[in-house]
């Protein structure tokens, strides 16, 4: 059976050239970069080369502004909590958006528990916040604004430059989560005007388990993990040398081929949008139709639920994802989809298709043939439909009871 991987926003295969580089630093040049001997010096050189590759890719003025972290999530924690704790005397207010990844939102929630105040800006129907919204939310206690560059679920690109101008004018530290944008669209810390920026290896054909934080020189910040003096005392622990080397190589490759690749993927994307919207009724395009990531396609199909769609596509060899609660292990559908104004029922029918380097025109055609019968079949099986309000049924027991106690898995269930 044909295998079509359409889930590049979830993760990407490691580029063979990246894997090759990494392998050397697993078995051959295995030194600890903190060691002074030849083995250590070799590892150190590799780590610093990768730091330069990252700095170059995002236009940082100095390698000293780049720190590696264990994941994109940890980089987000470092950026947000590191700034919050270090600037607590100045104020306790943080501005973010409803579009953020849980790595950002849950940091903000934790900071709220610790006494900070967080403003979560609402989104327009395309998933954006405006610079004006940010400006209006600023108080004299605001110490950090964190707004993502591109959204993982609906692909929408935020007007970061406009927002950063507001932040700069008000002298407030500005962070952007660029995990989804790096390597796909231009990311330059000076053009974006950000003080901190975070990224992750496994979204750009690098390995999982490595992230990086850019922090502009002079930004007030403190570490969130404690231990040895690695990464200029910003992140303790023996460096993941192979992972760092992989991230360096991956970001270099991704930015090299970016424009050609973006054009190719945007063509696929636009074709899928056009054909699906034409062929399948009751379909909603989610996210911005143009201001979005090149390989990123997202819909909601009414009356059906995402996981079943996903399982049926999987049986055809197509790997895809959904913001349905049932695919996320949580009980609520994607917070981003409800934040752009969709009802929970509609949000459950979401599908996200993210293309990348390994996809071809044939993959697109295969998908376009496979999808309509699946939607049709699931709709035939659904009690919902046009003009049918399920809650109006005489025996309806649809309840919105609090299922929160089921959210935490107990030890045995895992």
């Amino acid at each position: 059976m044909r295998k079509v991987y359409f889930d590049h926003s979830a993760t990407t295969p490691v580029d063979p050239a990246v894997a090759e580089e990494m392998l050397k630093y697993l078995t051959e040049h295995y030194g600890n970069p903190s060691s002074i001997h030849a083995f250590g010096r070799e590892a150190r050189k590799a780590v610093e080369k990768a730091r330069q590759q990252v700095a170059t890719a995002i236009g940082a003025s100095s390698v000293g502004e780049i720190s590696f972290a264990g994941t994109g999530t940890e980089a987000d924690n470092m950026a947000i909590r590191g700034v919050a704790y270090a600037n607590r005397q100045k104020g306790n207010h943080i501005i973010t958006s409803a579009a953020e990844h849980s790595a950002v939102l849950n940091c903000c929630k934790q900071l709220e528990r610790e006494g900070f105040t967080v403003t979560v800006l609402p989104l327009d129907k395309y998933g954006r916040v405006t610079a004006q919204q940010v400006a209006d939310a600023i108080t004299d206690k605001t110490i950090l604004i964190t707004i993502m560059h591109a959204n993982n679920e609906i692909g929408t690109i935020m007007p970061i430059r406009e927002i950063s101008e507001v932040a700069r004018a008000r002298k407030i530290i500005f962070h952007t989560d660029a995990v989804q944008s790096v390597g796909k669209i231009p990311v330059n810390v000076d053009e974006l005007g950000v003080d901190l920026l975070t990224l992750s290896g496994h979204k750009i054909y690098g390995p999982k388990g490595i992230g990086a934080m850019y922090i502009r020189k002079g930004t007030f910040w403190q570490p969130i993990l404690f231990g040895g003096g690695q990464e200029r005392r910003r992140r303790p622990g023996t460096e993941n040398v192979a992972g760092i080397v992989g991230l360096g190589k991956a970001i270099e490759l991704a930015t090299q081929n970016m424009h050609v690749e973006a054009e190719r993927l945007a063509k696929y994307r636009d074709r899928i949008f056009k054909e699906v919207m034409e062929k399948i009724p009751n379909t909603i395009l989610t996210g911005h139709p143009e201001q979005r990531l090149p390989g990123h396609v997202s819909f909601c199909f009414r009356f059906i639920e995402g996981e079943s769609m996903l399982l049926m596509l999987d049986m055809k060899g197509i790997a895809i994802s959904s913001g349905s609660a049932c695919t996320s292990g949580s009980l609520e559908p994607s917070h981003v989809l409800t934040a752009i104004g969709l009802t929970k029922e509609v949000a459950h029918g979401s599908l996200r298709l993210t293309m990348g380097r390994i996809n071809t025109e044939e993959d697109v055609e295969y998908f376009l043939e496979a999808l309509p019968p699946i939607i049709e079949r699931l709709r035939a099986m659904s009690p919902l439909g046009e003009g049918c309000n399920p809650c109006a049924c005489s025996t309806c027991t649809i309840h919105d009871e609090d299922h929160h106690d089921h959210g935490e898995l107990s030890e045995d269930e895992y």
């Binding site: 009356f303 059906i304 639920e305 995402g306 996981e307 079943s308 399982l311 049986m315 349905s324 609660a325 049932c326 695919t327 292990g329 009980l331 609520e332 559908p333 929970k344 029922e345 459950h348 035939a380 099986m381 659904s382 009690p383 919902l384 399920p390 049924c393 005489s394 025996t395 309806c396 027991t397 649809i398 309840h399 919105d400 009871e401 299922h403 089921h406 898995l409 107990s410 269930e413 895992y414």
Partner: protein, 123 residues
């Protein structure tokens, strides 16, 4: 994630559809979880002679719906009322933990349909 049995019932669901002029109809669901199940019945001599389901929901929701209709078909009303969500999950050789509470409502839908039938009888 899912057992083979679940995948079998998801891929080839039994008794999909809606009975016209059903003797009983029941619908349950939780909008947050994204599962809505509707069961319709035909009853003759206190025995479930026909049963169909329609489900909006995940793989587990579809499979439990399909399984419950198979389990209930041919049973007496009293027997059918004994079917629990747990029994359905067991018949499917288990469900992932996250699905146990959320998408395992098919026996509730069956019960709702039977209660609707009983209410109509008494009316």
């Amino acid at each position: 994630m899912y057992t083979e049995k679940v995948m079998d019932h998801f891929t080839n669901p039994r008794n999909v559809g809606e009975i016209e002029n059903a003797d009983g109809a029941g619908q349950v669901g939780n909008p947050s979880c994204g599962d809505i199940m509707k069961i319709t019945l035909k009853v003759e001599d206190n025995i479930i002679k026909d049963i169909k389901f329609k489900t909006f929901g995940c793989g587990a929701a579809v499979a439990t719906s399909s399984m419950v209709t198979e389990m209930a078909l041919g049973k007496t009303i009293d027997e059918a009322l004994q079917i629990t969500n747990k029994a359905v999950a067991e018949a499917l050789e288990g469900l992932p933990p996250a699905k146990m509470h959320c998408s395992n409502l098919a026996a509730d839908a069956l019960k709702a349909a039977i209660e609707d039938y009983q209410k109509k009888q008494n009316a």
